[in-house]
């Protein structure tokens, strides 16, 4: 049996793990480029210039220090909602309810703030309380989905999206009713949290602390999922539930735990939306971050660290939306179309894993 390599990459002596990493980077990047191409055709069909479009995304997303900060500002909630999809995905769950956890988390933060503000509690105590309330609400909300999944066999994808609608209705109920600030005439909102409770920007920037929280959580959760027994057990459960159960792993606890972590991430995003951006809870919380987060996580291949750059990319898309609307006279839904195309192309590209010849490690039985 003669052992000849089938590819130059394999011949260069790269290990199987390295090749797998290259593959995991090359396929999503390729999918992104293919989507850009498909979208260019779409633009050309409408008589718009793709070059101008991508140029504007660059200008609007990264062109100046203002636009970079705008991008980062929008990336922060996407990191958190991306994590909210990625962590349960590692244990084999497809949860698409981060939007609801974000909304309800933000609402809880605003609701907890009402007695704190009127009671004159200092921000040093008040803000952590608000953040904890937001994270707890999110954790319980999504944790419930995990519980239903594991102990009642309810499909988590549909359940989480239904819970999302229930969450939004719950917030609307309180915001339009019992907790409505009489001063908010046109847009029903809770009482403003006031300047004292506002989370300011990171010094020297206009970006709020949500970005820092997102970065820290991405690193912490990456370590949790890759370097700890919890993460190992969770990934093993995601690989094969039966095998994990046979090994005596507490599968139910792991499932609910991962879901609770996801909910806490989304809830924290809601806290920053309230405490740093809107200053109160209202319909502005329903901004679609939860849904874009799903795409971010898919593109990052559920890797917590990879979520950061991907979230920044989508933050840039969102940041340049206004510029594209004005300069190219295209509706704001243009970005939604682009995101939809990326989503479809990306999931189609899943079929390429293990099928691109020069990215496959040489197997011992290969012959020519």
């Amino acid at each position: 049996m003669t052992m000849t390599s089938t590819s130059p990459l394999a011949a260069s002596g790269l290990s199987a793990a390295t090749l797998r990493r290259i593959e995991a980077l090359a396929i999503p990047v390729g999918a992104l480029m293919a989507s850009a191409l498909v979208f260019s055709v779409f633009l050309l069909a409408l008589g718009k210039s793709p070059l101008e479009f991508y140029g504007l995304i660059w200008t609007g997303g990264f062109g100046s220090s203002f636009s970079v900060q705008n991008t980062l500002q929008r990336a922060a909630p996407l990191i958190l909602t991306g994590l909210a999809f990625a962590i349960p995905a590692r244990i084999g769950l497809t949860l698409i309810g981060a939007e609801g956890a974000l909304v309800l988390g933000g609402f809880s933060a605003a609701a907890v703030a009402i007695p704190l503000v009127t009671g004159g509690v200092t921000a040093v105590i008040g803000l952590p309380l608000m953040a904890v309330a937001a994270m707890l609400t999110g954790a319980v909300w999504i944790g419930l989905v995990g519980w239903l999944r594991h102990y009642r066999g309810v499909n988590e994808t549909i359940a989480s999206l239904l819970m999302s609608y229930i969450a939004i209705a719950t917030m609307n109920f309180f915001v339009e009713g019992p907790l409505r600030d009489p001063a908010s005439a046109n847009k029903p909102s809770t009482m403003p949290i006031g300047e004292l409770y506002r989370v300011g920007p990171i010094p020297g920037t206009t970006v709020n602390w949500g970005l820092a929280a997102g970065l820290v959580l991405a690193v912490v959760l990456h370590i949790l999922m890759t370097r700890t027994t919890f993460g190992f057990a969770a990934r093993m459960t995601g690989g094969n539930v039966r095998a994990a159960q046979a090994q005596g792993l507490p599968v139910g606890m792991l499932v609910v735990g991962c879901c609770a972590i996801a909910g806490a991430c989304a809830g924290l995003a809601g806290f920053f939306e309230v405490a740093a951006v809107h200053g109160q809870a209202n319909a502005s919380l329903v901004a679609g971050y939860g849904f874009t987060g799903i795409l971010v996580a898919f593109l990052a291949r559920q890797n917590a660290l990879a979520i950061v750059p991907v979230a920044i990319l989508f933050g840039a898309l969102a940041a340049s939306g206004g510029l594209i609307q004005r300069r190219m006279e295209m509706p704001d839904a243009t970005i939604l179309v682009l995101q939809g195309i990326i989503f479809v192309v990306l999931l189609t590209s899943e079929t390429l894993y293990g099928r691109i010849a020069f990215l496959q490690p040489r197997r011992s039985g290969d012959r020519t």
Binding site: I96, N155, L162, I166, F173, A333, L347, E350, T351
Partner: protein
């Protein structure tokens, strides 16, 4: 609440059930067909919204709402066929692709629908089934849209065709055991592609109902999860087209709860009653998830019940 009030609420709910249930019915029948072939399409929310937009735009431009319905079906067919084609590739997850199509369909609809938010397009005419009673409340509750009747006829036809035709047998076999279908020489990818495409077509028509009849205009908040609730509804209906109709009516009645209570002056908790259909769906899912009958009726190849 007095007896008269109760009467008004009940009548409003029956009327609401008839009005609101049609899109549920179409999406559920389409999804039922798709799931019978062993695949799930979670993207019907996208089909529904795109169908609504296309129907409204075509009706506005041509003046014919029925052309709009046709175009909506066409748009749904294209989305469904794309879903079916992509899912036939190896290693592709049908649930994830469904989420992608949810976002793709709504994105396209919002993009092309911007210019159709203002103008008003001709809608579908209703048939007054209750006009002979001479009672205006009953007559109003029994204003039935032709699509509602088409949906019921379709459910009866599907139920018959699945049980009694060669095509129905092939479809059910593909859904229950891909291996045996392959052994019989059936091209399972083709069967699933067709089932998903036709399912998409029906969901698109369901969308046309939203924009052309009730609520009867196009805007971006037109559908809030009806496409997805219909998927849950199929599980509840245990993959039976006739039961899909009953389930759709039940969902329609739940959706009409908020507005009908408002009609007798109970507006307290309006937003909460708006959540009723979602809560109902969730409870139904919880109740039917572990039941033995649901498990035995499910197509064997379906990923969500495995």
């Amino acid at each position: 609440m007095t007896g008269a009030d109760l009467y008004i609420v009940l009548l409003a709910m029956i009327g609401g059930a008839i009005r609101v249930s049609t899109p549920f019915m179409f999406v559920a029948l389409g999804e039922c067909l798709t799931e019978k072939s062993g695949r799930i399409n979670l993207g019907h929310e996208g089909n529904l919204v795109l169908g609504a937009m296309v129907a409204y735009a075509v009706s506005f431009m041509t003046g014919s709402p029925w052309l709009g319905v046709l175009a909506a079906g066409g748009a749904g067919l294209v989305l469904g066929a794309m879903h079916g084609w992509i899912c036939a590739l190896p290693r592709v997850n049908d649930i994830a692709v469904g989420i992608a199509f949810m976002s793709f369909g709504t994105g396209l609809a919002f993009f092309f629908g911007k210019s159709f938010i203002q103008p008003s397009a001709p809608g579908l005419e209703a048939i007054g089934l209750g006009d002979w009673t001479g009672n205006s409340a009953i007559a109003q509750a029994l204003q039935v849209n032709p699509l509602f009747l088409v949906g019921i006829a379709l459910a009866v036809f599907l139920s018959w065709a699945l049980a009694n035709t060669r095509w129905g047998l092939i479809l059910r076999m593909t859904g229950d055991s891909a291996a045996s279908a392959r052994a019989m020489g059936v091209n399972i990818d083709l069967v699933r592609l067709l089932a998903t495409a036709v399912g998409g077509l029906l969901a698109g028509i369901g969308g046309a109902f939203l924009s052309l009849y009730y609520p009867g205009s196009w805007n971006e908040g037109l559908s809030s999860g009806q496409g997805l609730m219909a998927v849950a509804l199929v599980i509840f209906a245990r993959w039976d087209p006739i039961r899909c109709v009953w389930a759709a009516l039940l969902f329609g009645a739940a959706g009409a709860l908020g507005p009908s209570l408002q009609s007798i002056g109970i507006s307290q908790g309006y937003y909460f009653f708006n959540a009723a259909p979602y809560i109902l769906t969730l409870f139904i899912m919880i109740a039917s998830a572990r039941s033995k009958s649901a498990a035995s009726d499910a197509p064997g190849e379906l990923s969500i019940v495995k």
